[in-house]
Amino acid sequence: MLKKKGSKGRQSNEINAGSMADIAFLLLIFFLVTTQIAEDKGVLTTLPPWSDDEPDITKLKERNVYSVLVNANNELLVRNEPMQARNLRKNAKEFISNPENRPDYAEKPEKAIISLKNDRGTKYETYIEVLNELKGAYNELRNEMAERTHGKPYEFLEKADQKVIRNKIPLIISEAEPTAFGEEG
């Protein structure tokens, strides 16, 4: 009789921890459902500081300016020639690096300037595609240079080495005030 009573007392003292896992599971599932892994990535750019007057690109030598115009029908005009967006990267690379020393291409990569102009009716999708191709051209050129000088891709270089290459092949995009021919929507 005494022994039985003792065992009863012990039972009520201990809380069963077996359901703890279930409670934790419930919480876990709640967080799984209500949350999302926030991952934000995109094309990083820096805007020019605000000034009231437009930069004058006519002062630059024409051979150094790579002008890209996009109209309201999402068509490209690159250095006065119509072009498909998928050819832009290759063409821009040739223009910037100028391996054949053509007199109408950039003197050297430091001097190359991209002039981008679009219409207020241009689709954002096209704009990003163009910006992406231009950035891609520069990234590929920087990568090629890193491989030549250091034997490894640009992103694995030391910060200081990256800066040297970045200064040799600087990405300068000048965006002009867009035209307003197309329909906005």
Partner: protein, 155 residues
């Protein structure tokens, strides 16, 4: 010898499940730390375009997000069908950007204010007109670091 064997057999009871809650709690904490609760419900439709040259934004506390797109169907009677901005949880126009940026700046320590990035989540079908207005406002507010949010494009 036989006794020894018997003893060994007795030492293999069921695996203790007492540590199971701890394991689950570890998982739970992992998810709690790595995820963020959905802050605002979107009132505009945004499908960002695809691109290849992407940069990840790491410091979430230094990023303010501007959504641009057409208002969702249930909000169209109020805001119309032209593309609008969503700043925080409100639908606004480009003219409200300076105040929004200033409010965000107040939350960031002074030494880090130069590192603030504006993430533009813009619908692919929006035209450049409204974006140009936004860019002008950002430049006037001296918020020059921007990120055109995009999805990864398979090559």
């Amino acid at each position: 010898m036989g006794k020894f064997n018997e003893g060994k057999g007795k030492e293999m009871p069921a695996v203790s499940t007492a540590s199971l809650p701890d394991i689950i709690f570890m998982l739970l904490f992992f998810f709690m730390v790595t995820t963020v609760l959905r802050e605002n419900t979107l009132k505009v439709d945004v499908v960002t375009p695809k691109a290849t040259e992407l940069t990840k934004l790491i410091h979430k506390t230094l990023v303010n997000t501007i959504h641009v797109g057409k208002p969702k169907e249930q909000y169209q009677p109020i805001y119309g069908t032209a593309p609008m901005l969503q700043l925080g949880d409100a639908v606004k126009g480009p003219g409200d950007i300076p105040l929004f940026l200033e409010n965000f700046k107040q939350k960031v320590p002074e030494s880090k204010r130069g590192l603030i990035i504006s993430s533009l989540k813009v619908d692919g079908d929006v035209t450049m007109g409204i974006l140009q207005d936004i860019k002008t406002k950002l430049r006037q507010s001296n918020q020059l670091k921007i990120n055109y949010s995009a999805k990864t494009k398979e090559q």
